[in-house]
């Protein structure tokens, strides 16, 4: 379960404070699939970054399974991410010097898993890239890179998957494949999936939708009518 209490983010723009997120309160239950939507600059990616502990809020608490992550150090946050959170970026962010397979292996190796190699191959097969493990990111198409990124996010079987506009850099057909993959993962593994998206169609596929405008929640997370 993820609980946000009074979470806000203020940054300095020049010497003026700029509020990116106004105090937010909401709870996401384990296994939910949530879309964070809103126009550009509304604070969606910032919120997702806060949930992953990639950044710290200016005020408020974020509790994941009862642990307030705002009190954790950088290194404790890194360990938490390795264990509980898989992150998928809009621009993939694979390590360019590693092959596709090695990119998937990294989180498992950090966690010290003994079955890393076998599981890496299995994950590659799951995302449909069984024969491309030895390719470097620069040798893969955008869709393939994003599939590798998803496999990497799944590596340690995290209970929470965060995806920041996962289809934003892809054409619509490829985007569709990626979406189906993400939703499929959420369904088969019962993991919590939180997506930031512009894509109306994608937002409609989730259980809940949180709409942000100018850093405020337009309304509490609403259940998507289906």
């Amino acid at each position: 379960m993820i609980e946000l209490r009074g979470v806000s983010k203020v940054v300095m723009s020049g010497d003026q404070p700029l509020t990116i997120l106004h105090p937010l309160n909401f709870t996401i239950a384990s296994g939910d699939c949530v879309a964070i939507v809103g126009p550009s600059g509304s604070g969606k990616s910032t919120l997702l970054g806060l949930l992953a502990g990639l950044d710290a809020p200016t005020a408020g608490t974020i509790a994941i399974d009862g642990v307030d992550i705002t009190r954790l150090s950088e290194d404790e946050l890194a360990r938490l991410r390795g264990e509980k959170i898989g992150f998928v970026f809009q621009s993939f962010h694979l390590v360019p010097s590693l092959t596709a397979l090695e990119n998937i292996l990294v989180p498992m190796e950090i966690a010290g898993r003994r079955d890393a190699a076998a599981r890496g191959k299995q994950l590659l097969a799951e995302v449909g890239l069984a024969d491309r493990g030895h390719h470097y990111p620069s040798q893969l198409s955008g869709g393939e890179q994003q599939r590798v990124a998803i496999a990497r996010a799944l590596a340690n079987d995290p209970p929470i998957i965060l995806a920041d506009e996962p289809t934003g850099n892809l054409d619509s057909q490829t985007g569709r494949v990626i979406l189906d993959l993400l939703i499929g993962v959420h369904k088969t593994r019962r993991s919590t999936l939180i997506l930031v998206t512009h894509d109306r169609e994608l937002a409609d596929m989730t259980d809940y939708r949180l709409t942000l405008r100018d850093g405020r929640a337009v309304e509490p997370a609403v259940e998507v009518a289906r």
């Binding site: 970054g49 990639l54 264990e83 962010h93 950090i110």
Partner: protein
């Protein structure tokens, strides 16, 4: 395999090309250290094995005059007491030899050594054929070096004239024990029987001979005996030295040489380290995104740091090992360079374990130390930059970074001290390095500023080039440091060499005498002068009387030295001097204090004129009285004048002591003559052979040959230093290549934008050429200015030479550096010219 190690290897796999120069930098430095240390350790190992045979005895007593009765008595006493169990006398004397066969012209100066049967007590005299026994030289036999056979066109079985007697050549010396290490010799070695020496007439008084008494001493008493004999013979003009002492001394010299030489390697390695540091900094900048990703998927800062540190360690180790391999290759080639040493004893050149361990250790340490500070940036990378480019918060004082920087500096001083074998030298080296770097930086900064007006130039390319040199994140400083230092070394040494060689050629100039005749006896004067005049077709040469004297006491206003023992304690005064007497001042002399004597011979007290150095160093003054021992005869003379001698102009010779005529009437003396010999080698050889045939005791020193030898030595030394300079410059070039390729990603992007805006490939190439050309010109100028100061300082203060600027070297140096840097800069950035703008811009 651990995650960290695995990641380090993966990183090396993808970036080894970019880091190639990283380990070449380390390899060159480590290679120099290992090679230099190994050579000296090999020599030392051989020395330790053969130190006794180097002296051929346990204890050696030497003197420049026949041993006094006191010396002979003392040794005889020790023989009776059983402290000395063997004695072999020997004499070394420089003399001329020539073939007895009149059909073979030519004569050579040799270092003759006459030995008694027990020689050598230790070691073996190796002949190129057969084995040595004393019987071989008995009854007028001689052993010679192969070079003499070649020079005089002789072979074994032929006869040579030594002094007044013919000797048969019975063998060729391959190596000889007891040859003094590092002694400057005027000729090659000839060995004869001690018993035959007297008959040659070479020991006639005044000849420059070195008497040696080689003693065998039972082990435990050696040190005690040495101390006793030293004390007992202090006033007998005899030196006493045990093989252990000479071993210790040579050992100390070798240790010092080893440590200083490895500092040269360390300087090269530290330059490599500077390169490593700048590579690492740019490398981390390029890896920021990957670091953020690793942190995003769960890696802690410590782990990421460990990955890159592991990578540096592996590269440092690989570089160091490459250096060891390079050193091994160099060592395999060493014997062909130092053939001379093998004439004395056998040295097996090879890598020595301590040198290899030190090299690897220093290589890895330098790699780590120079990269740890830039690597600390890894800690500051925030994973959130994957979501958006943050404006980094104002940097707080990073206490960790500064304390690590402090520790690194201390560790580097420690390494320098370790390599130099002395904390003081280590501190000086570090301070010198910091000062040099500082001067180069300041000079560089001034020059960079000086070219800034060019940014208003009409040429777009030149404007851009100048802007690039001063732009943020530039590599200007590190390139200036590395290239500037290399230029500094090479130009400094070259200009010093030009000054040295010029000085020698001035001395051997057109109208200067180029041949010396020495050891002329009084009764040979007229015949010799007439012979030389008839051979050269010039007026008879002037003959100067010379005597050999030691100062045995000074009764001065400021100095009081009562015995020879006390005189010996005064630096420089204790040695044997060659003195003369005459009634006139020479053209190269002037009086600075006191008055020159009247041309009439002295009647009462002897008078002496001293060289001004004694006034400066020993505070001797006009009016002081000095006591001299001239081959056993004691003369007290009053100092009546102090002379300044122009030592550059030695046509008239240079003497520290000149006496008023009359002081040595009836004293044994010989004469020397300087003359200008014919220019052609054949005529010179004829003259030398003629003198040797008619006046066997007279030695001919051919100044041209000696100058050629010295010029050869100067060339070799400056070649060696130039090699070091070239290594430094090579490191500089590597740093340049590294700096260029590291910042290339930025260049490629800029070039793409400029191309989009209409710049042609040619314009961009011109910009690059100008940018690196200007940078090279700045580095060259900084180095050349430093070189001028260096060569002037060394020439003026260390070598006491007149110094002239060498503008051609300076100009060629600056232009060559500029061209070199421009060429390398452009070659290393070919991608910038080649890349198509669209693909570059899309990738950004």
């Amino acid at each position: 395999m651990s995650f960290v190690l695995r990641m380090a290897l993966r990183e090396i796999r993808s970036s080894w090309r970019r880091l190639l120069f990283f380990f070449v930098c380390i390899a060159i430095g480590v290679g120099s250290i290992v090679a230099l240390r190994s050579v000296i350790q090999s020599v030392r190992g051989a020395l330790a094995r053969e130190s006794r045979s180097l002296m051929a005895a346990d204890l050696l007593i030497t003197s420049n005059r026949p041993f006094t009765q006191a010396v002979n008595d003392a040794v005889a006493r020790e023989e009776r007491a059983g402290r000395v169990t063997g004695r072999a006398d020997a004499v070394e004397v420089s003399t001329m030899v020539r073939p007895v066969d009149p059909a073979k012209p030519g004569a050579r100066m040799v270092e003759l050594r006459a030995v008694q049967a027990p020689f050598p007590f230790y070691g073996t005299l190796t002949l190129s054929q057969g084995t040595y026994s004393h019987a071989l030289v008995e009854n007028r036999g001689a052993l010679v070096r192969p070079e003499l056979l070649a020079q005089l066109n002789l072979s074994v079985g032929d006869s040579i004239q030594i002094g007044s007697e013919p000797f048969e050549i019975r063998g060729v010396i391959a190596s000889e024990p007891g040859r003094r290490l590092g002694a400057f010799s005027l000729g090659s070695r000839v060995i004869i029987d001690y018993a035959d020496l007297a008959s040659t007439g070479l020991l006639a008084f005044g000849s420059r001979s070195n008497m040696q008494m080689m003693l065998r001493v039972p082990g435990p008493q050696l040190e005690e005996l040495e101390t006793d004999l030293r004390a007992g013979l202090a006033n007998e003009f005899a030196g006493v030295r045990s093989y252990r002492r000479s071993e210790d001394q040579i050992g100390e010299n070798l240790t010092r040489a080893e440590n200083y030489l490895s500092l040269v390697g360390l300087v090269v390695l530290i330059l490599g380290g500077i390169g490593v540091s700048s590579v690492t900094r740019v490398f981390v900048q390029q890896k920021i995104r990957s670091i953020a990703i690793l942190k995003c998927v769960g890696a802690t800062s410590a782990r990421v740091l460990a990955i890159y540190m592991g990578q540096i360690l592996l590269l440092g180790l690989a570089g160091s090992m490459l250096g060891v391999v390079m050193a091994g290759a160099v060592l395999a080639a060493v014997p062909s360079f130092v053939g001379d040493l093998t004439a004395m004893f056998q040295v097996d050149y090879g890598l020595t374990a301590p040198a290899v361990v030190q090299g690897l250790g220093v290589g890895v340490l330098v790699s780590v130390l120079f990269s740890v500070v830039p690597l600390l940036e890894v800690r500051l990378v925030k994973p959130s930059l994957l979501l958006r480019q943050d404006i980094p918060p104002a940097a707080k004082f990073d206490w960790l970074k500064w304390s690590v920087t402090g520790s690194v500096a201390a560790a580097l001083v420690g390494i320098a001290a370790w390599q130099a074998g002395s904390l003081r030298v280590g501190l000086w080296l570090s301070a010198g390095f910091v000062a040099t770097a500082f001067v180069l930086q300041v000079a560089g900064a001034i020059l960079v500023r000086a070219v800034q007006p060019l940014r208003y130039s009409r040429s777009f390319a030149l404007r851009q080039a100048v802007l690039h040199i001063a732009r943020p994140g530039n590599q200007t400083r590190v390139i200036l440091l590395a290239v500037g230092l290399g230029t500094f070394f090479i130009l400094g040494v070259r200009s010093l060499q030009v000054n040295l060689l010029r000085d020698f050629s001035v001395q051997a100039g057109e109208n200067a005498p180029d041949m010396f005749l020495i050891d002329i006896q009084s009764d040979q004067r007229d015949a010799l002068a007439a012979f030389v005049a008839s051979e050269t077709g010039k007026p008879a040469p002037k003959l100067m009387p010379v005597l050999r004297a030691r100062v045995t006491g000074v009764e001065g206003q400021q100095v009081e030295l009562e015995s020879y023992e006390q005189v010996r304690g005064r630096g420089g005064l204790g040695r044997e001097f060659t003195v003369t007497y005459r009634s006139e001042l020479e053209a190269n002399e002037s009086i600075i204090s006191g008055a020159w004597w009247a041309p009439t011979p002295t009647a009462g007290e002897a008078e002496v004129s001293i060289e001004e150095g004694f006034l400066e160093r020993l505070r001797l003054q006009v009016g002081d009285r000095m006591r001299f021992d001239v081959l056993g005869r004691v003369i007290t003379a009053r100092v009546t004048s102090i002379r300044r001698v122009d030592w550059q102009d030695f046509r008239s010779g240079g003497f520290m002591f000149v006496f008023r005529p009359g002081a040595f009437d009836g004293a044994p003396q010989t004469f020397i003559s300087t003359l200008q010999a014919p220019a052609s080698p054949e005529a010179r050889a004829r003259l030398q052979a003629g003198v040797a045939a008619r006046f066997p005791n007279v030695s001919v020193i051919d100044l041209r040959e000696i100058l050629q030898t010295i010029q050869g030595v100067v060339r070799n030394v400056s070649t060696a230093v130039t090699v070091v300079g070239a290594l430094v410059l090579l490191s500089g070039i590597l740093i340049l290549v590294g700096a260029v390729s590291m910042t290339k990603f930025r260049r490629v992007y800029e070039a793409a934008i400029l191309k989009t805006l209409g710049a042609s490939g040619r314009l961009i190439a011109t910009m690059l050429v100008l940018e690196y050309g200007v940078l090279g010109a700045i580095a060259g100028t900084v180095g050349a200015l430093g070189a001028i100061v260096l060569s002037w300082g060394v020439a003026t203060y260390a070598l006491d030479l007149p110094w002239d600027p060498t503008p051609s070297i300076t100009i060629v140096g600056i232009v060559a550096t500029s061209l070199l840097v421009a060429a390398i800069g452009v070659l290393a950035s070919l991608d910038v010219l080649r890349n198509k703008p669209l693909s570059t811009l899309r990738a950004e």
